[in-house]
Amino acid sequence: MTVERVVVVGAGIAGLAAAAELAGQRAVTVIDRLPALGGETGYEHPLVRSLQAACLDGDASFLLGTTALRWTNGRLLVAAPGSIRWLDADRLVYAGGCRPGTPAELRLAGSRLGGVVSATVAVHLLDAGVRLGRNPILLGESDFAADVAARLRRTRTPVRVVAPEATATPAYADEWWPGWRGARARGMGRVRELEIARGDRREWLACDAVILADGIRPLRNVDGAVAAGDPATFVQLAAPHATVDEVAAFARAAASALMSAAVRGVAA
């Protein structure tokens, strides 16, 4: 009997943990858009190193700097600089990570404005030294918000957080609006104010940037592996907060469920 070929998309903690679980029992290939392991967690993290070792012990292979595009009829279209090709695979495990919601998903009305950016974009721009605002608002309380807040603090920018889910005040918040949601952004070209709402109450907050870090949801961008019914296994823990250990445990559980389901399928 031939060994099932599994492609794992995403070499962050979730993808590596799933691959480590499958490696040895399946022919596993891990691909990632970035030419490095670790994803959001970074290669230096000890768990990334130990998962890499476990993958290699199970003869998993890595195709880094490679983007998955289309999953159809047991083939995955992948692109890397200078090369676009089809990989044959019996199963796709998608561990592409999560992202904050878009303005439409967060039901944030108003104009399309400069300065209203996703936290994922904000992190890259802040790392490149772009001053996103002197008076920004973080919309949402999540790991994404914490990533942005840490960078804002480095430039001594006050951190205002508007978060519909009222929880304990996060350590990084200088100003805290628990239970409020962003309702509408307004400005001319660039954002100037944000209307926030809590029940029937409304407030306008002056601001010069709105960073979206709420409504965390799974990234889905491989055609044919987008919705729950598509023939792929999704390993994405969409939660405002998740430790690397939680993500790894979630991914291991998903991978072993996949294997026992396959075993049951054979038995039936």
Binding site: A79, R99, N221, V226
Partner: protein
């Protein structure tokens, strides 16, 4: 800058279609656009429908649309613009709406397009997503969908390749006049002499006419709001689903787009705020409710974007004619069918200018196409693309599968993109289901390198930079 035969004011779909048409003749052309890209107003904020008929047969609207709609397949193939003639279905969900269909049928047939009244069962055969409440429908197989932004950019690029000058960030602030005629166009960058002026300024039509000493027109903004729903839903939709217009209800439609998503909208709110492009919750809810009557499976769980846009409204539905006072000023403006009438309007404007003494003849050496940029997403054999440009293997926008090669082509021109919005118009990058959460920083860095501006000074939207 040297004088030109024709100055075109306004870089929307009408102005760029006129510039493209004139650029194929012996006339010299300069187009002035106040924004930093063409197609930045109504031409980007619309449903992307190519209507096959619009108004009563024989009217000017009907004639310019009739002169345009049969030409889309050929034009879009030459200009590398996504277009599909998928047909539209006007759905009638009540007896009152059913009564509206026969006069619409008569109008459509009078305009020479194919049209047929069908029962609800047949409507659902054509478009299974249509509600069981649909009693009757008018089937219009000649209606189509187009990428209106790509169309406008491509028309401007064709004009540019044929020698027309496209001046961006060049608002017309005054005219030189002499002996009852306009003789030149003034922008903050200086004066360009012109033998003729075409006013294709959309909402600015009245203002430009008055500056040129022409007629007074009352124009006002009509705001329309839209939802964009994900491809997961849009890919199921086969045809445009129109509401039956009634005197007291606005026409909310469910429209597939050429990139696979679906649009719900537009609302119609007349106001006096030409810069108001704000969406609001109650209007968006209204649009959703109206759309759901026709297509019950629409779900806001599929929403990836909302937007508002301004279209010009006026007491005169369409103007394609020489000004009553200024004999070398030609107006070319339309209320809400700019895309659908653009090609016919351009031909008509050329005729009007020639009658007024332009004396332009078609050049045999004029280009009739722009070089196509292969799209990774649409490629039937994507494997061969890296041989054309290795950057095809470098996918920047994953949702829309836009490669670095395509973005580089947009940034390198003709008519190079200078902002995120301009890149999105040309390539769709940042416009997918994650709305740039993955790729916008990367596109900003590519814009930064192409423009020489620091990333913080790159425009995300018109007038809105990334950095504060």
């Amino acid at each position: 800058m040297r004088d030109v035969d024709v100055a075109v004011v306004g870089g929307g779909v009408i102005g760029t279609a006129i510039a493209a048409r004139l650029s194929a003749t012996t006339a010299s052309v300069c187009l002035f656009e106040r924004n930093d890209d063409v197609g930045d107003e109504a031409s980007k904020g619309n449903a992307g429908i190519t209507s096959s008929y619009y108004a009563e047969p024989g009217s000017l609207d009907a004639r310019v649309i009739q002169a345009t709609y049969p030409r889309w397949e050929d034009t879009c193939a030459r200009l590398d613009v996504p277009f599909r003639r998928i047909g539209g279905i006007i759905t009638a969900l009540s007896d009152e709406e059913v009564a509206q269909l026969p006069p619409k049928l008569e109008e459509a047939l009078g305009c020479g397009v194919r049209a047929e009244i069908i029962d609800g069962r047949r409507a659902r055969e054509l478009e299974p997503l249509i509600s069981a409440e649909c009693l009757q429908a008018l089937w219009l197989p000649d209606e189509g969908i187009i990428d209106p932004m790509r169309l406008t950019v491509r028309l401007a690029q064709l004009a540019s390749l044929n020698g027309a000058t496209i001046r961006l960030s060049a608002p017309v602030i005054d005219f030189e006049r002499s002996g009852g005629k306009v003789t030149g166009v003034r922008t903050p960058h200086g004066v360009v002499g012109a033998r003729f002026v075409v006013n294709a300024a959309g909402l600015g039509l009245g203002m430009i006419s008055e500056l040129a000493g022409g007629e007074s027109f009352r124009m006002w903004p009509r705001k329309g709001e839209y939802w964009i729903l994900d491809r997961q839903f849009g890919s199921q939709l086969r045809h445009i689903v129109f509401a039956t217009p009634l005197p007291d209800t606005k026409g909310i439609h469910v429209v597939p787009t050429t990139n696979g998503t679906a649009l719900l909208g537009p609302s119609a709110e007349d106001n006096d705020r030409p810069t108001d492009k704000e969406t609001d919750g109650p209007t968006l809810t209204y649009i959703y409710e109206r759309a759901r009557r026709m297509v019950p499976s629409v779900s806001l769980d599929d929403a990836i974007k909302t937007f508002a846009a301004i279209r010009p409204a006026s007491d005169e539905r369409i103007r394609v004619r020489v000004d009553a006072h200024v004999p070398n000023l030609v107006h070319a403006a339309n209320r809400s069918t700019g895309v659908s009438s653009s090609l016919g309007t351009a031909d008509m404007v050329l005729d009007l200018l020639n009658s007024a003494g332009l004396d332009a003849e078609d050049r045999e050496d004029a280009l009739d196409r722009v070089p196509a940029v292969p799209r990774l997403r649409d490629a039937l054999q994507p494997e061969v693309l890296p041989a054309i440009d290795p950057r095809y293997g470098q996918v920047v926008c994953v949702c829309e599968q836009v490669s670095a090669a395509e973005i580089a082509a947009a940034l390198e021109g003709p008519l190079p993109a200078r902002s995120i919005d301009a890149v999105q118009k040309r390539t769709r990058a940042t416009g997918g289901r994650c709305q740039g959460a993955v790729c916008m920083a990367g596109v900003a860095f590519m814009c930064s390198i192409a423009t020489g501006l620091p990333p913080g000074e790159v425009q995300m939207v018109s007038g809105g930079t990334f950095g504060a």
